[in-house]
């Protein structure tokens, strides 16, 4: 579901959640589970981590619901929580990787290849996924969030600005810098 859709239903559910009605949590999860999972997965590229992040996002949404601004859309609010938690998880994983062992790129690639629908295209998908994952991982945290919301969620620049709490100008320059950086990374990888 696109975050600009279903505002009234979301608002109603958020209002119920804010008043302590836990029954509103399950329908809210039904509406946003898949979308938030894809945001977290695009950011982290690891299904288990993405699932944990979305779970944490809904727990936070329940805990923070009383602080939710009733006039705001719930979709972008939930997306922002998910992006921030994905960034936290990414930092934690990176710290752990620096402490114990380097990230296993092969594992990421294998995991992504498992997501592909057609087995005969797995090798192709694995290579493309691996290169893209490497280029995405090389981006600064916020730039990566902009790329994920634009190219994995199809959000407009305005929607990205609302979701991440950035100005429109910052979103534009972040997207520009991110794409250029990805190009450099991909071309450097080929050389």
């Amino acid at each position: 579901m696109h975050p600009s859709e279903g505002g009234a239903g979301d608002r109603d559910l958020m209002a119920r959640l804010a008043s302590g009605d836990r029954e509103a949590l399950a329908p809210l999860m039904g509406r946003h589970y898949r979308r938030l999972y894809r945001i977290a997965l695009s950011y982290l590229r690891q299904p288990d981590d993405a699932l944990d992040v979305v779970q944490e996002a809904f727990v936070k949404a329940y805990q923070w619901a009383p602080r939710w601004d009733g006039s705001a859309e719930a979709g972008p609010w939930l997306s922002r929580i998910t992006v921030n938690l994905s960034i936290d998880r990414w930092r934690r994983n990176r710290r752990r990787a620096q402490t114990f062992a380097p990230l296993a790129d092969g594992d990421h690639a294998a995991t992504l290849a498992d997501l592909g629908p057609a087995p005969d295209r797995r090798v192709e998908g694995r290579e493309a996924g691996e290169r893209l994952a490497t280029a995405l991982r090389g981006l600064p945290e916020r730039q990566r969030a902009v790329v994920v919301l634009r190219h994995y969620q199809d959000l407009s620049l305005e929607e990205i600005a609302v979701t991440l709490g950035m100005s429109l100008g910052t979103v534009k320059s972040s997207l520009h810098r991110a794409l250029r950086r990805m190009r450099e990374a991909l071309e450097g990888g080929r050389a």
């Binding site: 949590l25 589970y33 699932l51 329940y62 629908p117 794409l179």
Partner: protein
């Protein structure tokens, strides 16, 4: 000149990202038609964008069905609501009920010993009526509530075990497609040992939960027979069974009913 060049590069990136509109879009398209370097830049960035549009991650479904995910989150919310270091309410309920029963039994006995010898008429009064603290009805109510609370706790824990197994995504052997279900089989066996106490001890108080308890028992028996490292297919079969029987939802509803 430099500023104009930087602006052009930014517009080329935004054109490749598909976010440029109106006059800016027309002008940038006209520019790249004439500028070979900008055209090459645009094509390279478009290829990256196209790669992301074909990335399987875009259409990936969560590895855990919604019903199990909802159960996982609700369990987390439940735990988040219990302040650390403070006992759960039912941990207080059992000693409190025991204290009430003890007072009800001991106080009349002590009072009777301290009193002077009763007259014949007073001695004929039944003990329950003589106790001002607790009637037989009140005792029966306490027993009934305790049995229902015990059953609710049992169902809650059983639900946690089923979610832990069905929602696991942890590989214990990637090559062999096996998943780690941790201590779930052991916890299932412990729960099955407690089941008789819940059902027989609960009697009529938990009669309405009998159907759910029976289905939970079947599911727990399957989990109890599992090793800690399970074939993915076995986990998926169990997940399907739990879903078909709507077991998690029924556990949730029955737990609430039992807790009143």
């Amino acid at each position: 000149m430099i500023l104009g060049h930087l602006r052009r590069r930014r517009l080329v990136s935004l054109l490749a990202a598909g976010v440029l509109e109106g006059r800016e879009r027309e002008e940038t398209l006209a520019h790249i038609a004439e500028c070979a370097r900008c055209r090459e830049e645009h094509e390279a960035l478009r290829a990256i964008v196209a790669g992301m549009e074909q990335d399987p991650v875009r259409g990936a479904d969560p590895p855990v069905p919604l019903a199990f995910f909802v159960a996982r989150v609700e369990r987390e919310v439940e735990q988040a609501l219990v302040p650390r270091g403070r006992p759960r309410w039912w941990l207080l309920a059992v000693p409190a009920a025991a204290a009430i029963v003890a007072v009800a039994v001991l106080v009349p006995a002590i009072v009777a010993r301290l009193r002077p010898a009763p007259r014949a008429a007073q001695a004929e009064i039944p003990p329950a009526e003589a106790s001002p603290l607790l009637t037989e009805d009140a005792l029966a109510r306490i027993e009934r509530n305790l049995a229902r609370e015990h059953a609710a706790r049992y169902l809650n824990e059983a639900g946690e075990v089923l979610v832990a197994v069905a929602a696991t995504g942890v590989d214990c052997n990637r090559a062999d497609e096996r998943l780690d279900v941790g201590s779930a089989p052991e916890r299932s066996r412990e729960l099955l040992e407690r089941r008789a106490l819940v059902v027989r001890g609960g009697g009529e108080a938990v009669a309405s939960a009998r159907g759910v308890l029976d289905d939970v028992e079947l599911a727990l028996r399957e989990v109890a027979d599992l090793p800690s490292c399970v074939r993915r297919g076995d986990v998926e079969r169990l997940r399907r069974e739990v879903e078909e029987r709507q077991l998690l939802m029924r556990i949730r509803l029955m737990t609430r009913e039992l807790e009143g």
